[in-house]
């Protein structure tokens, strides 16, 4: 008995010693600018409120996503640009997407410097973000414009979320978006209570508003949970952060799997209706709808072309499917960060320009 207590006790003591050592070394390494990726490894495990507090307090830190992609601000900028546009310059390509779409569009601009492009994007944005911004941005499009709806295969499960902060545990950009549910033949849009960075900042000082926001997430968002949001005080321990990262990523992966298995959220029907409504709305407004189906590297991702091609064909909507040009299982097509290599983006851009010209 004595031996067992000493072994278990000493092991715990050593873990604590290691933890204190790591906790002491990390800030030191940060100050000297060494081991940046290793520090990041430990930072990833902070609770979501903990990470957001760090971002809010340190606006200049690399990778800070606190202020990006807030819908109110995107729409405000869009309206300003729209008001200042010279219609003599011809139609504008208005894209609703994410970095993948932006990279293709930048290549398109290089090929065709005359191209007018207006971007609306969020990091890793799911289709409910891109579709919702397309809907809300309706006053800021003209007849003859091209509307691009970006759908990223890896972000499809996140259609069951209202903010990246609930599902992108390691990079929890707090920007928000509506969640869509099936209603009759159409879709019901449930908007988030928080839609701009200022409102979000105020949550820190307003516990009642914060509770209300969390209550909405608890009710509507299939990814929100204590593994990522609870017990922020544990962030003081690097070991606890590592454990949290493990638990949170596993739980979130399980939640994603449940969406893909259609156990919790009918992503396929919702996505089909989004594409249908996108196409019909754009056409009704005299615009040209183009859907980007971006198949990312993960072989477990939803096959966008198989799911959406029948709808696109039925609606006679143009589309650019990356899987028709590049095998997504080919690792040589991708950069280490998961984006397509520039030459691939150029290939997609050429195809896009061929569609709209």
């Amino acid at each position: 008995m004595h031996k067992s207590v000493s072994v278990i006790g000493l092991t715990i003591v050593w873990i604590l010693v290691l933890d204190v050592l790591v906790a002491g070394v990390l800030p030191l390494a940060e100050r000297t600018g060494k081991a940046g990726s290793l520090i990041q490894y430990f930072e990833y495990g902070r609770s979501v409120p903990g990470k957001l507090d760090v971002w809010e307090d340190n606006p200049g830190v690399p990778g800070n996503l606190y202020d990006v992609a807030w819908t109110d601000e995107l729409l405000e900028r869009s309206a300003e640009r729209f008001a200042g546009e010279d219609t003599a310059n011809g139609p504008v390509v208005r894209s609703y997407g994410m970095s993948f779409v932006n990279r293709i569009m930048r290549q398109a601009e290089k090929i065709d410097p005359e191209l007018n492009w207006d971007s609306h994007s969020g990091p890793g944005a799911p289709p409910n973000f891109t579709y919702a911004v397309f809907e809300s941005d309706q006053p800021n499009r003209r007849q003859g414009d091209v509307a691009v709806l970006g759908i990223l295969s890896s972000a499809v499960p996140s259609m069951a979320a209202m903010s990246n902060s609930t599902w992108a545990f390691e990079q929890p950009a707090p920007y928000t978006y509506p969640i869509f549910r099936l209603q009759g033949e159409g879709l019901q849009r449930i908007d988030p209570l928080v839609t701009n960075a200022e409102q979000f900042r105020q949550l820190r000082a307003d516990p009642a508003a914060r509770r209300e926001w969390y209550a909405q997430l608890r009710e509507q968002d299939f990814f929100y949970g204590p593994q990522a949001f609870g017990m922020s005080w544990l962030d003081v321990s690097p070991f606890a952060r590592l454990v949290r990262r493990s638990v949170a990523t596993t739980t979130l992966q399980q939640a994603k799997n449940k969406v893909i298995e259609k156990e919790t959220y009918p992503y396929n029907d919702v996505l089909i209706r989004m594409v249908r409504e996108f196409s019909r709305t754009a056409k009704a407004d005299g615009q040209r709808p183009v859907v980007f189906l971006i198949q990312s590297r993960n072989p477990r991702d939803v096959d966008l072309l198989t799911l959406l091609k029948p709808t696109l064909d039925a609606e006679e909507a143009d589309y650019l499917a990356t899987a028709e040009f590049v095998d997504p299982s080919d690792p040589a097509a991708f950069l280490p960060d998961g984006h397509y290599k520039a030459e691939r983006d150029q290939q997609f851009a050429e195809q896009f320009l061929a569609i709209i010209n």
């Binding site: 715990i12 050593w14 070991f239 590592l242």
Partner: protein
């Protein structure tokens, strides 16, 4: 319920809690119920197969032991073989043979309506089938007395730590361990916990950490030569860590409950020839194949040609045991061929001298032999991991340069934690090998030992952020 998931450890905590307060017989009954619950967590319908196999082999074992007429004893053995191999045949191989037969007919111009058999493979069927078969074989050979207590026998068949992926236990080892009271000691608990920790590191940090890199290359339509070589090296590490990780946890969990399961791996990549490799890799299967198949086929009695034939036939069936696919048959043939060639070249003289390295020159020769033989093993893993004959031909062509391939290296880099843990595992295996003692760390002073445990816990937390996947050997 995977060993690498928290729900298994919650399950084990409940089982362990009940175990310590129950008397011996009640412990066995509780473990049987727990084992059935554990299996039912995958698919409760297939419990019926385990129960059927248990009931039939229990009755046949008793009848066989009492029977004095040889022909009747043989009949009982055949019934057991028919039932167990029949189940395995239907659930594991029927679809494969039907498809292969249809393909054969089509290749000679006979088109048939494709018969699609959607048969689900019950988890662990190859493992518990071989385990129960060894029981009836041993009784038939009068090497074993049958189990008296039906529920003890049922626990032998279904014991949850090793039910779904082995080790394939022998009744001579496990049945007495079930039948006799077990003593729970701190030493066993500590050894079991260390095995579990090591197994989790192997599985979660190394195997799951490097799996995406391997998958990416084996799914790639145009990998380079170096991609294939790196990915196959990584797969060799992945499959070792995945499978031996499972075994370590199985043995660790059993050890904490007072059971001693057999060792399944003994630093296999320190082997320098095929014979040595099969003494170190999946020991419970290789000894099973030796005792019940190779020897039954005649073993090395009957001259060189028959020995080679028996070796190759045994390994082909061993390959087929892994799965109903032609690449496993090819892998088995490759292993059988290696064993036959090695036997022809080295003969028997070398047995007993292996592993002995005298002086610096001897050590250098041994290290070089190990490194060279590892490449041979890796080519076997390419056959094992490939998804089709076309891929085998294509990848082989790219390696030897007969198929053009890009020069770039695009293998995704595995996470840092996987490399750190791989370093730890290498040192661990080296120390086990050098000391010839699996509990080498017990000689260390408690503060040093506990510092190592703490580091292992920290490393596990550090590396447990990758997505976990099922154990590779569950599909067999």
């Amino acid at each position: 319920m995977l060993f690498s998931e928290l729900n298994f450890w919650a399950f084990f905590a409940i089982v362990g809690g009940l175990y310590v307060i129950l008397p011996h017989k009640a412990q066995n009954r509780m473990l049987l119920v727990a084992s059935y619950v554990f299996y039912a967590a995958w698919d409760w319908r297939f419990l019926s197969l385990i129960m059927l196999s248990t009931v039939v082999d229990y009755i046949l074992g008793l009848r066989m032991a009492k029977e004095t007429v040889e022909q009747r004893r043989k009949l009982f053995l055949y019934i057991s073989l028919a039932l167990n191999l029949g189940m395995l045949g239907i659930f594991k191989y029927l679809g494969f043979f039907v498809e292969s037969f249809e393909a054969l007919l089509a290749s000679v111009g006979f088109a048939t309506d494709p018969l699609v058999l959607s048969i689900v493979l019950p988890v662990g069927i190859s493992f518990y089938t071989f385990q129960t078969l060894s029981y009836t074989f041993d009784i038939y050979r009068r090497d074993l007395e049958p189990a008296e207590d039906f529920f003890d026998f049922a626990l032998f068949v279904a014991f949850f730590p090793q039910l779904v992926a082995g080790p394939i236990e022998r009744a001579k080892n496990l049945l007495p361990n079930i039948a006799l009271p077990r003593v729970l000691t701190w030493k066993n608990f500590e050894r079991g916990a260390v095995l579990c920790l090591l197994g989790l590191l192997k599985k979660i940090v190394i195997a799951d950490g490097i799996a995406p890199s391997v998958d990416a290359i084996y799914a790639s339509p145009d990998p380079s030569r170096l991609d294939i070589i790196f990915a196959t090296w990584l797969f060799a590490i992945q499959i070792y860590c995945d499978f031996s990780g499972y075994t370590d946890i199985a043995r660790g969990v059993a050890k904490m409950l007072g059971f001693g399961l057999m060792r399944n791996f003994a630093q296999p990549y320190f082997a320098s020839d095929p014979q040595e490799f099969w003494r170190r890799w999946h020991i419970s299967l290789s000894t099973w194949l030796r005792d019940y198949l190779y020897i039954s086929l005649g073993g090395n009695r009957g001259g060189s040609f028959k020995t080679y034939r028996n070796l190759i036939a045994t390994m082909v069936l061993g390959g087929l045991w892994h799965g109903a696919a032609w690449n496993f048959v090819l892998w088995g043939s490759f292993q059988g061929g290696l064993l036959a060639v090695h036997r022809a070249i080295a003969g028997r003289q070398k047995a007993g001298a292996e592993g002995v390295a005298r002086g610096l020159k001897g050590m250098a020769v041994r290290v070089l032999s190990i490194a060279a033989f590892f490449q041979v093993v890796c080519y076997g893993w390419l056959l094992f991991r490939a998804t089709s004959f076309d891929q085998i031909a294509n990848f082989t062509g790219r390696i030897i340069g007969t198929v053009s391939a890009p020069a770039v290296v695009s293998v995704p880099t595995p996470p840092l934690a996987a490399f750190l843990c791989l370093g730890l595992l290498f040192v661990w295996d080296l120390m086990t090998e050098k000391s010839n003692e699996v509990h080498f760390y017990e000689r260390w002073p408690t503060p040093v030992r506990t510092a190592m445990y703490a580091s292992m816990f920290y490393l596990l937390a550090f590396g447990s952020t990758t997505a976990t996947s099922t154990f590779i050997y569950f599909q067999f």
